[in-house]
Subunit: 477 residues, 2 copies
Amino acid sequence: MAEKKMVEAITSMEEDFAQWYTDVVKKAELIDYTSVKGCMVIKPAGYALWELIQRQLDERFKATGVQNVYLPLFIPESLLQKEKDHVEGFAPEVAWVTHGGLNELPERLCVRPTSETLFCDFYKNDVQSYRDLPKVYNQWCSVVRWEKETRPFLRSREFLWQEGHTAHATAEEAEERTIQMLNVYADFCEEVLAIPVVRGQKTDKEKFAGAKATYTIEALMHDGKALQSGTSHNFGDGFARAFGIQFADKDNALKYVHQTSWGMSTRIIGGIIMVHGDNEGLVLPPRVAPIQVCIIPIQQKKEGVLDKAYELRDRLSGAFRVKVDDSDKTPGWKFSEAEMRGYPIRIEIGPKDMEAGRCIICRRDTREKIEVDLGELETRVEEILTAMQREMLERARAHRDKNTFTAVNMEEFVRIFTEKAGFVKAMWCGDRACEDQIKEKLSVTSRCMPFEQEHISDTCVCCGKPAKKMVYWGRAY
Amino acid sequence: MAEKKMVEAITSMEEDFAQWYTDVVKKAELIDYTSVKGCMVIKPAGYALWELIQRQLDERFKATGVQNVYLPLFIPESLLQKEKDHVEGFAPEVAWVTHGGLNELPERLCVRPTSETLFCDFYKNDVQSYRDLPKVYNQWCSVVRWEKETRPFLRSREFLWQEGHTAHATAEEAEERTIQMLNVYADFCEEVLAIPVVRGQKTDKEKFAGAKATYTIEALMHDGKALQSGTSHNFGDGFARAFGIQFADKDNALKYVHQTSWGMSTRIIGGIIMVHGDNEGLVLPPRVAPIQVCIIPIQQKKEGVLDKAYELRDRLSGAFRVKVDDSDKTPGWKFSEAEMRGYPIRIEIGPKDMEAGRCIICRRDTREKIEVDLGELETRVEEILTAMQREMLERARAHRDKNTFTAVNMEEFVRIFTEKAGFVKAMWCGDRACEDQIKEKLSVTSRCMPFEQEHISDTCVCCGKPAKKMVYWGRAY
């Protein structure tokens, strides 16, 4: 059964990228649909990936002083309504609990779509003095947003994420933390996931409901669409005023705290798939691959072959995540399966190799076959994984750069988005009307105003008025 | 503010155990109440404890072949209703989602109180052949049960846990897995949490809704009440028949799978508090203490003292979880705080100690003060933590044994539960009527039929008919 599913070739990405994505997600056994509409099962291969993301991101958080906590799943309706912009942004897409056991509740509870209001309610009591600040808390949990259209990892009614929520004595400190966490996300994406990102600020139209400023990292997928991969928000003292979160400062004056929040979700797994995958299936960056090396014995019934495979596994498993595929499938099947699942390295070992004291290493991203002396196995595996991690980032960066264009007027802008797909760098006057017009006409949105500004032209690409900012534009997931 | 809270002595456990518990939970800053009725905030000190439990339990799971997954938060009403006993047990205490966004849902969804039905729905499609078995899956998540009375960690409307769900080809294999996981829990409690447990089987009255057999580990708290600390259920093929989970076996016959589930929750943190805590506050077993060593500088403004404290921290922090309390509180405050928070070791270092080349180690459980030569610091800390871990388990076991009684008839049974508090070992005929009578009369329940059976008498302690089983009885949390 499992073999049968594996042979049917997946749709090629050139033919139908959306179908290719769904095929990979299903056939690499990352996720499955459920009878709960819009909700997914994350299967072992998908969850192991999330665990590695979680562990490495959590370490980076803790190195900056983040402490983990857990707040309730439910938000009373009156609490959600305290901050005006926030409730307007989220109320239309939350799930409502109206009954507990056999009784109707006195007040409806929504299942958290995000937890700003709960953290505010908590900080209101927990923060009294400047000595209690800063609070730099984070939680790993699931959230619910009642989406109409759903796609595995990219958009579902429930997803897993982390949400950091901090409170600070000064506006400067809050702004610093907002940028710091955006950089944690960006470095993590580039160093661990081999996904290059553009760092920048969202326009007012695209910012988070209730935020003073939203910062984002934007990545380009293989099909030229953009994926918002992590966001960090500075709330100023807006929530603090709505919730009454005040502290006695050193000068004894009562002041409002300044707050931030920042999140990254299982959505990023969609990013890994769409940046690195190919027509053979998933390609996982070594640093986040649950299996880094898959050993496939050739003629495994011949004496000593399986034992040799286990011996190699034992040699490697101190330093790498290794498995032996000793199932009764043919080597050909196992090769395809290992490719579909994106294992960075496949090692082939058979009687002839054993005689010659070598094995074959096949690199997933380049599909290059390398003959390796068994005496040098650990060193070569290490070298190949390191090279692969580096080159995957370089390749993704080259792809992004090749598909990043500039436009100085609407004619160019339209032509690029009609003929090509990618990022377009173009100047903007700062008016929401231009963003609205571009979105309506082309389904293109401002992805961010990058920190690294460039001067493309003097005037807004849309209205021709004097330009204020260079913006990355794109079609988004 | 924080200091003020700390000095007020907590209620002594002899005076009012329930109040002592609440005081410790609040003042050790493990948990806080929220405006969401019946739901708690797990604060950094509480969550760090849960993370250490999670990490160590998860490692033990994975060593037995468990794979982690994630299933939806919601269960459609029709799915919950598929197994008759199960829905009867849970329907009265679930929270119902009736609206998504602005629309009423076509079918109500409950927030998972446990996920047997979701795993069955998933296995129904995922299991086709004997090659797909066994499935040994687990998820870490939160669940919701609409309790009326709530207490921090022990009973709340939402709590964190893990739930393992497995499917097997044979009844024998399912039974083996059920017992295996119970033993994982029991060993974890004894080796990591220093909590001795009784392993046994629940009576039919006390077993899980839908299970063929429920196994449990039961621990005795300091006040003589019992805490069910982990359970493991064998479902036989009951759920498989209700959900139609069949596989083609090697002989090509279609057969139903045999299933198990097993769980441990944040409730166990309540157990740690009530087994080890004392009138100074929390006492944490070293293997699960987020801070194992707290270094407190004496006369920290004198030259070199703080530097020395940091130097000791740096020396120890490779092997232990260490912090320096360099706040501007007095050493006396810091001592009380370190005791309240249950840090296993407190190190005092001041100018005189530095001159003498030594420091003072104070052990939290015995409050013994030990002079230690700075040259031997690492070795001594290691020795003391190891001794503390071992002796905490021995002390808890001695307390439990001292408070475990036997009764051969109802007169003795009543007298013990009137005059004392603890476990009572007594024989039982196997009739639910006797359990009902005992519960009504004394609020005492059968905790388990222990694997290690003893012969206390020939007849049932309640009705005098021939006895079938020796049972541990107790008042439970």
